[in-house]
């Protein structure tokens, strides 16, 4: 087994356009767990994720993978350590499920190593893990939203990285398809992967994440296990809404009930 990777930031500042949205942020992501980053629109959660994936250059500070600054790593090497599923990913028209998943092998391949026994094995496993064997030769356009999203996650599985970053993986999906995706994410964490996802929905984050990072105005306002950090006060601070917190009788995760607009603006 490879040792668990560590991903953290050191005094990370990032801008979106002219505006600095993240200021000197230091955070460490727990290995082998599912972390959800939540917060109101424009709080910098997606910007943080794109920084972790090296899509955007930081103004200053660094993202550290096993203690090394990822800005110094070759693109291909980083892609064998860290996989990213961007928001609303689109594939060229006509690709089948297997063809998309094969792209996940790209960082492991080269001109003289285009299709090895290992590639075949990994793609086969990724198809099985995402429950897509029966759909392997279907074009992506012919799949449901949930199936398509599972195909994209299968592509990142085939990348065989210990770290997986997902940007709002369920934003365009209905409830049933959301659950499909979240259960797949849980499976991946159980197998020892570190998953970091940006989520819009606090309730899903509570239910499916081991670790929650709540952000507002580019700062972390709370982090920890959902059952410990989610309080009515935190919900008010993040979203300016009042709510009553219940505990899910089956799973013990916090549930938001009677959500209403706060009487006084925070």
């Amino acid at each position: 087994m490879t040792s668990l990777p560590t991903l953290s930031t050191d005094a990370l500042s990032m801008s979106y356009g002219q505006r600095q949205v993240i200021h000197e942020l230091g955070v460490s992501l727990p290995s082998g767990q599912v972390t959800a980053i939540v917060g109101p629109n424009g709080c910098g959660k997606s910007t943080l994720l794109s920084g972790l994936a090296r899509l955007h250059k930081p103004d200053c500070g660094a993202v550290l993978l096993n203690g090394h600054d990822i800005a110094q790593m070759p693109a291909r090497q980083l892609a064998t350590k860290l996989a990213l599923l961007p928001q609303e990913a689109v594939a060229p028209e006509g690709l089948t499920v297997t063809e998309l998943i094969r792209f996940g092998r790209q960082p492991h391949q080269g001109w003289l190593r285009q299709w090895s026994a290992e590639d075949q094995q990994v793609v086969h496993h990724a198809l099985a893990a995402a429950g897509l064997e029966a759909l392997s030769d279907r074009p992506l356009e012919a799949l449901s939203g949930g199936q398509r999203q599972r195909a994209w996650i299968a592509m990142t599985i085939a990348q065989q990285t210990p770290l997986l970053l997902l940007d709002e993986p369920t934003s365009a999906l209905d409830l049933g398809h959301q659950i499909e995706v979240f259960e797949l994410v849980r499976d991946l964490a159980c197998q020892g992967r570190t998953v970091v996802m940006v989520l819009h929905d606090l309730a899903s984050a509570c239910r499916y994440a081991d670790h929650l990072i709540a952000m507002r105005d580019g700062q972390i306002v709370a982090q920890g296990a959902p059952a410990e950090v989610v309080t009515p006060a935190l919900v008010r601070e993040l979203y300016q809404v009042e709510c009553t917190l219940l505990l899910d009788p089956d799973t013990g995760s916090p549930l938001l009930a009677n959500v209403r607009r706060a009487s006084q603006p925070a």
Binding site: A83, Q106, S116, A117, Q120, V122, R186
Partner: protein
């Protein structure tokens, strides 16, 4: 406890070391993915894939190009039999035929092949870069920029610099202007196309202005530049294009794996280990240089850059960017278009740029009007 949601449901691949995998799969035979041939030297860890469809398409297009070339050499003011053409090419037959084939028609055929191939290769590169099948160098103003500078050197505005160098300077200027004006919005979306059309229009007007202000003889000398013609092109420019095309094709094929990934969004390509910015710059440079060298020979026959890749894509699978097929299709289109221009209304010759415009214009409209497809 949150056991229900957080339990594992099925076996999932673990990030394991390659040795673990090699032990597991050593006994297993490796099958090529569907639609591919695979050649491998397992001892050296070498495995190469060939897409069956790509092989068939490239062989088919090569055969069609060969047939078109023989036809091109046969037809003209004097019609020769294909046998006589082939005989004179290998140094047999009578001297009159040999002169006609080797001295008159062959140089022009080579110019047609090279320019068509270079325009189409530049086109498929730019389309992939912009993820937009309308975004060929001709449409975003690069052809017109190259033409304006080349005409400037002929009508004596510029000093005595060779047309290919001037064309390269013009193409680069137009590319810088288009990318500069579209800054912020990137190369995706219509702002980039609209900026390019504007830049192209300005350079087109500059060319016309220069021609209007010089003596009629000079203007006549520069006329082929403005419509695109293969009539009596300078041999040195053709040689330069040949070298550029050979190197450009090798470079494009070396970039093929990255080009395949550039069709995805930047975030996806980058997540799969592509240095997106560096690759895009390389692809852009290649496209601009190829266009400039081709314009220096034939003038702005930019619609070949639209038609060639379009034919290649309609024949190929969606798995790859059809680099070689687009290049071959471009050469084929150019040879057939110049053959038509030379022979249809003989003895009057129609410049190849006009033939491709007559065919390419409606084609462009058809692309614009038919339902959107996202397959650059």
């Amino acid at each position: 406890m949150k056991m229900t949601a957080k339990q594992s449901m099925s076996g999932v691949v673990l990030p394991r070391t390659s040795t673990a995998y090699q032990e597991e799969v050593s006994a297993q035979a490796v099958a090529a993915p569907q639609g591919y041939w695979r050649a491998a030297l397992p001892r050296y860890g070498v495995s190469v894939l060939l897409e069956k469809r790509a092989v068939a398409v490239n062989i088919g297009l090569s055969a069609a190009l060969m047939a078109a070339c023989v036809l091109y050499l046969s037809l003209g003011s004097v019609t020769l039999s294909p046998n006589a053409v082939v005989a004179s090419l290998i140094g047999q037959g009578d001297s009159m035929t040999a002169f006609m084939v080797q001295q008159l028609r062959l140089p022009r055929l080579i110019a047609a092949c090279f320019t068509g191939a270079a325009f189409a290769l530049a086109g498929v590169l730019m389309q992939t870069l912009a993820r937009n099948r309308l975004a060929t160098p001709g449409i975003i103003g690069i052809d017109n920029g190259a033409t304006a500078f080349a005409v400037a050197s002929i009508v004596g505005v510029g000093v005595g610099i060779a047309p290919p160098a001037m064309a390269l300077a013009g193409a680069t200027t137009a590319a810088v202007l288009t990318f500069g004006l579209a800054a912020g919005s990137g190369t995706q979306g219509y702002r980039f196309i609209v900026a390019g059309i504007g830049v192209g229009a300005v350079f087109g007007a500059v060319t016309q202005l220069m021609l209007a202000r010089v003596a009629i003889d000079t203007a006549n000398a520069a006329y082929p530049w403005t419509v695109g013609s293969l009539n009596a092109r300078p041999a040195s420019a053709v040689q330069l294009l040949g070298i550029g095309l050979a190197l450009g094709l090798v470079a494009a094929l070396a970039l093929a794996r990255s080009l395949t990934l550039l069709r995805f969004k930047d975030a996806t390509a980058s997540g799969l280990g592509t240095s997106v910015k560096a690759r895009r710059l390389q692809v852009l440079l290649l496209s601009v240089v190829l266009t400039a060298l081709a314009v220096a020979v034939a003038g702005p026959v930019g619609l070949v850059a639209l038609i060639g890749p379009e034919i290649a894509r309609s024949l190929s699978s969606a798995r790859h960017v059809p680099i070689l097929a687009a290049t071959l299709a471009g050469a084929l289109v150019m040879v057939l278009a110049d053959l038509a221009g030379r022979t249809l209304f003989a003895p009057i010759e129609i410049p190849v740029g006009i033939v491709t415009a007559v065919v390419g214009g409606p084609w462009l409209l058809w692309i614009l009007m038919r339902p959107q497809r996202s397959r650059p």
